[in-house]
């Protein structure tokens, strides 16, 4: 069948097929294959795809194939296969039908039509898909910066974890009872920290400034105990220049340094 194709005399380029030689390559590259080229020819000539006149279609198709070959364009094998198929269909249509032919015999064009329709359907589907807004091309997926400067992923600690840690310590160090801390002691120690922190800022505080009577008597007592403990541990100095003069509290190292 290939021989037949090559054996055909070169047909002159009809006017409606004329493409400027410069544009030819671009034009031919625009086709995605033989089905695409056939569809173009059918649509261009307003042919009925369901009742294709095989003779003119085959002629036009072969003309294109010939142009491609004469320009030494790399012609995909599929184009030649299609040419053979078209000529086969054409010749089968030309054969006289036996008078008592089985009515189930298929039109030789049926398979071609089916493939053309299916290809056209997918071609249009591709265009429709291409029209959908595409992420990266038509729309941008939002993903704003996540600010982490303050809270980089830090471990969570629960109060109970501290007790567990302490328990582990006890276990290892076989700590004796003097390490047991009561709520009262803890309260004193908390106030020791508070007083030291206050002294960090002000260096010297008047004794009375350390007390907050509005928080009640228990807090006053605990604050006083904290002061005594701090003094005992030489962490603060409590001074009074004379009787009834203001009492000053300062950090233990404030003067020695």
């Amino acid at each position: 069948m290939m021989a037949k194709l090559y054996g055909e005399p070169v047909i002159e380029l009809p006017h409606d097929l004329y493409i400027p030689p410069d544009a030819l390559e671009v034009f031919l590259e625009a086709f995605e294959g033989p089905l695409d080229l056939l569809l173009y020819l059918i649509r261009k000539e307003n042919l009925d795809i369901l009742d294709i006149p095989m003779a003119p279609l085959t002629r036009q198709y072969l003309e294109y194939v010939e142009i491609m070959r004469s320009r030494n364009l790399e012609l995909a094998a599929e184009y030649l296969v299609m040419a053979a198929m078209l000529m086969e269909i054409k010749s089968r249509l030309l054969l006289p039908r036996p008078p008592s032919a089985e009515p189930t015999e298929e039109d030789p064009r049926a398979e071609l039509v089916r493939r053309l329709l299916e290809y056209e359907q997918m071609k249009k589907a591709a265009q429709a898909l291409d029209e959908l807004p595409q992420v990266g091309r038509d729309v941008i997926a939002i993903s704003v910066w996540i600010e982490k400067t303050i809270a980089e992923r830090l471990p969570d600690v629960h109060a109970q974890d501290l007790a567990e840690a302490w328990r582990g310590l006890l276990h290892r160090a076989r700590m004796s009872r003097h390490h047991r801390i009561s709520r009262e002691e803890l309260s004193v120690r908390e106030h020791m920290s508070t007083i030291l922190r206050a002294l960090q800022e002000r260096r010297v505080l008047e004794f009375s400034e350390l007390f907050e009577p509005e928080r009640g008597v228990p807090v006053l007592v605990v604050t006083f105990l904290a002061l005594l403990e701090l003094a005992r541990e030489l962490l603060i100095e409590i001074t009074q220049s004379e009787c009834f003069a203001p009492i000053y509290v300062k950090l233990g190292y404030a003067e020695s340094s």
Binding site: M2, E32, G33, P34, L35, D36, L50, D51, A76, A77, E78, L80, V81, M82, M85, R97, P103, T104, E105, E106, D107, P108, R109, A110, E111, V113, R114, R115, L117, E118, Y119, E120, Q121, M122, K123, K124, A125, A126, Q127, A128, L129, D130, E131, L132, P133, Q134, V135, G136, R137, D138, V139, I140, A141, I142, S143, V144, W145, I146
Partner: protein, 208 residues
């Protein structure tokens, strides 16, 4: 437990910061699963409504919810971009369409429909984009890979399911071929797996 306004604020921030669409189930974790799926969906709908007048919209996709710019505003945003993102070639888009509408398909199936050889590069392009993947192999000689579209494909095209693909253009149900009866042809057209027909494969032989 958050009040609805706080919950929406948190939802909004999580969705704006997310790299991928977030499902309702994932979003529930934001609230330690204390907010039910239905309440969450309502909040998301309210959020979508609140964003409706803006140039950014909250959309519901195959794998969840995502904020994205509206396509109408792309011309403005493109002014900031030094180069435009390329469009896919017709060959790529046709291959994608066949995989999307006819999945699962082999490369041979695609070649039957397109009538040309499908290059490995085309398949690679779609795989690299995360739009298609191999979902199995057909038990025929060579065990060719069967391709299907991914959830990412739906997400990237703004779809929730394949149902939302643009409908295929109606192909003539009955071929008015004469003189041969059209019955067999119309049957083939109606059958979704028409490409399995033996002569379809034979027709694209590449050995000229």
């Amino acid at each position: 437990m958050q009040n609805p306004a706080d919950a929406k604020r948190i939802l909004e921030a999580a969705l704006l910061a997310a790299q991928e669409p977030m499902s309702v189930n994932e979003l529930k974790r934001l609230f330690d699963n204390e907010i039910g799926a239905d309440t969450l969906k309502n909040l998301l709908e309210e959020l979508r409504e609140q964003w409706s007048p803006r140039a950014v919209e909250l959309v519901s996709l195959a794998s969840g919810w995502r904020f994205q710019t509206r396509a109408e505003f792309q011309p403005y945003i493109e002014r900031l971009q030094t180069e435009k993102p390329p469009r896919y070639s017709r060959a790529v888009m046709e291959t994608l369409a066949i995989i999307a509408y006819r999945q699962p398909v082999t490369r041979g199936d695609i070649e039957d429909i397109r009538g040309v050889v499908v290059s490995g590069q085309i398949v690679q392009t779609l795989e690299n984009r995360g739009w298609i993947d191999v979902v199995g192999h057909r038990e025929t000689p060579g065990r060719p890979a069967l391709y299907a579209t991914t959830r990412r494909f739906l997400d990237d095209l703004g779809l929730r399911s394949l149902q939302e693909l643009p409908p295929l253009e109606e192909v003539a149900q009955t071929l008015q071929l004469e003189p041969a009866p059209a019955q067999q042809v119309s049957e083939a057209e109606l059958r979704p797996d028409a490409e399995d027909e033996p002569h379809a494969a034979a027709a694209t032989g590449t050995d000229g």
